[in-house]
Amino acid sequence: MGPLLPNGIIPPEWNYIIAILIGIAFGYIMEATGFSSSRKLAGVFYGYDFAVLKVFFTSAVVAVIGLYYLDYLNFLDISQLYVQPTYLWAAVIGGMIMGVGFLAGGFCPGTSLCAVAIGKIDGMVFTVGLMIGILIFSESFSVLEPFFESSNLGHITLVDTLGISPYWIIFIMTILAIAAFAISDKIRNKVKKVFY
């Protein structure tokens, strides 16, 4: 039963080979859907291109349905999958800083790596910026640490937070995603086209 590597069904020697293969697929999909173009990515915030919203929510919904279905079929034990801890205020403030960073720079870390791979100089500068940002965080860690370690709610999921069955959450997520797709198409028809 999965996950295969942690349960020793695939020997650990395969770990990094799998990492590179998964990375290749991830990079290929991102580049092929246009995620190496900052102007395409930024379109979601101005209504001229909703690729980010569509790719992001389609993949989230497909992934969550697939994982819970594999769990239902006993191919995978969902309780063994890594759920990152929720540090409430760190997640909120960190996310907000990333939101501003995205609008200024036009990439996120994954997409900037794709942009670097196809020769976008703006992507390279953004990636250097990322490393400077990580350096600033690490060097000022003693100041940030109390905030960084505060409001730890543990490894919780929406099932714990909302107290309803995961299947209802997935159903609501799917409906919300479909509604968002329909609304985004309506908006895009009204917004002036941008060519890039």
């Binding site: 991830f26 999909i29 501003v100």
Partner: protein, 176 residues
Amino acid sequence: MKKKKQKNRHVYWNPYFGGFLLGLLIILTFYLTGRGLGASGALKSGVVTMVHTVAPTHAENNAYYSKFLKEGEFPMNNWLVFEAIGVILGAFLSGALTGRLNLKVQHSPKITSRRRLIFALIGGVLFGLGAQIARGCTSGAALSGMAVLATAGFITMIAIFGTGYLVAYFFRKNWI
């Protein structure tokens, strides 16, 4: 020919098709490794390695770097680093097959390359900082988190997109 409609030069995959494949890839990643995808983690390993090489004692005394500097282990010897190498290879492959390999600065015609690069640097610094505070970026925290219904994933996603819409007006000249 003059009446030919203006179109985007690049032809990309249908976003639903791309999203579907990405969803399958996330399932496969969790099924094989028990964890999701990531991107900023590899850059963190890079920074830790660089600082440790330039100033070893400084890195070992810092409470954050030292988390990733265990005795006899190299921070670059990490799943996410290998995954990031794969991301660059995969994106290069896709770009090469579709003729998108091109050394250039992409920017709106309303702004100069210089302005684009300055904002790219500022955006990168902010994103790098934010991704450390939130313990992950759009792929590691938001997307992979949402795939397992992690509360942190949804909070991070709403914070990134919500703030993006709030501040979009101030950056509009850069994009439209």
